[in-house]
């Protein structure tokens, strides 16, 4: 996982509510056994028509999209399927933070394990971001802050441990492995066995 402490970038805006992970990456792309090149499948059915032609007015097809590291999304982004391929495809495409007023639980959890920062903001800030695509904003993981070009700064919630892992660029398996003795003790001392 690539570490992230602070990043300033333009936003791209997808103002649809309840975008599910089937849209982020349709199921037919989940037949892969690796993560290689998975960004190509990001929003496949919204970026391309049935013939594979680019749909010009879709935000992620806009010229200069490579400079946009932040996706501002409608409310309840990432609902539905638990597929981790969703954050994988966003990260592979170049997105480093998703900003919304609400982000679905499993998607948020999966994002944190892949260095994709879920930034949850209040409704006013969300409305401003939706209305100002291309705004240059700063996501500061260290300070837990989002800074707008208007000078406004808002804080966002992020679990201490997940934040630590993103700041250091480390995965969480190592921490679990440090607990093997605790796990063994727990298994031996249970009042019933599964």
């Amino acid at each position: 996982m690539e570490k992230l402490t602070k990043l300033t970038s333009k936003t791209t805006v997808l103002p649809i509510d309840d975008v599910d992970t089937d849209q982020i990456i349709p199921a037919r792309f989940l037949t892969t056994t690796t993560r290689e090149g998975i960004g190509k499948a990001l929003f496949a059915d919204w970026r391309f028509d049935a013939q594979g032609n680019t749909i010009k007015d879709f935000p992620l097809n806009a010229p200069g999209i490579a400079e946009c590291k932040f996706l501002v999304a409608g409310r309840n982004f990432g609902c539905g399927s638990s597929r981790e391929h969703a954050p994988w495809s966003l990260v592979d495409f170049g997105i480093r933070a998703v900003i919304s007023s609400e982000i679905a639980d499993i998607f948020r959890n999966n994002s944190l394990k892949n260095g994709l920062v879920p930034v949850i903001v209040d409704d006013d800030t969300h409305q401003w971001l939706l209305a100002n695509p291309g705004a240059e904003v700063t996501v500061d993981v260290e300070a837990r802050e989002l800074r707008l070009p208007t000078g406004k700064t808002v804080t966002f919630p992020i679990d201490n441990f997940a934040r630590h892992c993103i700041l250091e660029g480390i995965d969480q398996t190592g921490f679990l492995m440090q607990n093997v003795d605790n796990i063994g003790r727990f298994e031996n001392n249970r009042s019933w066995q599964p």
Partner: protein, 468 residues
């Protein structure tokens, strides 16, 4: 101090290291169900880090998501492009390799208990009250019907459970859903959960574990309870649970992995404690009276966009709402009743069990599927398939002109060859009507098995109450 909820009790029983401000809890998992689609990268992680699977005995492995629903008697059948595309075939073969290499028993082709992950767990008795159950699949909430805590995880977390049998978790909030009233004929559990999601929204349960309570729930059988818990995730909830009772124990008794002999009696005594204390409180409460509930059908592109079958689609002037009804090619102010149907799909982890198959057979018996409709009936497991055949249901289905297929996820998510074509409309007993879910450009209408069967006969979306 207040009492504990069912969720509190199961949570507390699995904390290896408690959470604090700096770190989440190390949380123990009793049953991990693995399938071919969300695990290959996790097995690769184990190889990279040179780690074994800690508890192969607590894994339950099968293949369901991308498997063909035509017979596969021999793996070489997967090379036939009429049976499988090369990518899913490769994934299926990789699953076999991964299970062999890491010492996990696999319920693969030819196994009586191959089937949908959330069907086989309960079927073999591995799903039990008080267990923590995870799978790289969001419908793991299904197992909550037994008073287990079941939730979906990503592939990184699949790796964590393979390696350590634990997850890093923060405790979710609790939400009570109280359901009262008696269901009318032709209305079923699927209608209850669709109506609930319509009421609280696709994010109504976000951050919460739901406990379904009340007299209506007590009167449901296990298949019906599973249908309800299954769709908890469609309300955004982390999990959905129902306290175990005599109905639960009667369903479980004698199943392969259920405790046997004296162990059974000991287990039942422990399971009887798994209920919310009278003085416990929830973070959130919702009530739903289903006495006058009609069959429900979705009209949009998420499960909360749902209406009673006789009622018109509401008119809401909103970008997301308009995008959804344009995609569905339906009109506000008009009911879904009478809309032309191309495909009817009966199956998925929501509605592919014996209760569902019997409900469909009852309506189809002696009738014909309309000439404009292709009807696919896909049982949840191979064991269910043979049980249905013992009951003679397959004869009723095929005589009506429906296809009776092999077990799998099938057209719920179109990962195998069972897909909708562009613009086709499917009345589906599955759980998600997202854009393109059943195939690019396909249109999904979620409904109960009863509504699906009635619509198959009518050739248009039909009210099952006219067919019983």
């Amino acid at each position: 101090m207040g009492g504990k909820t069912l969720f509190d009790k199961v949570w507390d029983d699995h904390v290896v290291v408690p959470e604090n401000e700096q770190t989440p809890a190390v949380f123990y998992i009793d049953l991990h169900i693995v399938h071919e689609v969300t695990t290959p990268q996790a097995f690769d992680m184990l190889r990279e880090k040179k780690l074994p699977v800690r508890r192969p005995d607590l894994m339950l492995a099968t293949m369901d998501h991308s498997t063909p629903t035509v017979p596969v008697n021999d793996l070489s059948a997967l090379d036939d492009p009429a049976i499988s595309a090369p990518e899913p075939a490769k994934q299926i073969r990789q699953m076999i390799v991964n299970c062999e290499e890491f010492g996990i028993e696999l319920h693969g082709f030819g196994d009586h208990h191959r089937g949908i992950v959330h069907v086989i767990g309960p079927e073999i008795g591995a799903t039990q009250p008080g267990k923590t159950i995870v799978c790289g699949d969001s419908h793991s909430s299904t197992h909550g019907a037994f008073g287990a805590l079941g939730f979906g995880i990503g592939t990184t977390e699949v790796g964590h459970v393979l390696a350590t049998q634990c997850l890093l978790q923060r405790k979710a909030k609790s939400m009570a859903v109280n359901i009262t009233g008696k269901l009318q004929p032709g209305v079923s559990a699927k209608d209850i959960i669709l109506a609930l999601i319509g009421k609280i929204g696709v994010d109504g349960g976000t951050g919460h574990v739901i406990e379904y309570r009340g007299e209506t729930i007590r009167g449901l059988n296990m298949d019906e309870r599973m249908t309800i818990c299954n769709m908890s995730i469609e309300a955004g909830a982390r999990a959905g649970m129902i306290a175990p009772d005599e109905t639960t124990f009667a369903y479980m008794k004698g199943r392969d992995k259920a405790p046997q002999g004296e162990d059974w009696n000991i287990a039942v005594e422990r399971w009887k404690e798994l209920k919310t204390d009278a003085d416990a409180s929830f973070d959130k409460e919702v009530s739903l009276d289903i006495s006058d509930l009609e069959p429900q059908v979705t009209f949009g592109t998420n499960p909360a966009m749902v209406a009673s079958i006789s009622k018109a689609i509401p008119k809401i002037n909103d970008l997301s709402f308009n995008k959804a009804i344009n995609y569905m090619q339906v009109k506000a102010d008009q009911p879904m009743l009478g809309t032309k149907v191309d495909i009817v799909f009966v199956g998925s982890c929501t509605n592919s069990r014996m209760t569902d198959l019997h409900s469909v057979a009852k309506i189809l018996d002696g009738k014909k599927v309309a000439s404009n409709v292709r009807m696919m009936i896909v049982p949840g497991s191979e064991a269910l398939k043979s049980q249905a055949e013992t009951d003679g249901l397959d004869k009723i289905f095929t005589a009506a002109g429906a296809e009776w297929r092999e077990a799998g996820c099938s057209m719920c998510l179109g990962m195998n060859s069972d897909k909708l074509g562009k613009g086709q409309l499917c009345v589906s007993t599955s759980n998600r009507n997202f854009e393109g879910r059943q195939g690019p450009g396909g249109r999904t209408v979620l409904a109960s098995p009863e509504t699906a069967a009635a619509s198959a006969i009518a050739g248009v979306i039909a009210d099952p109450r006219d067919y019983i």
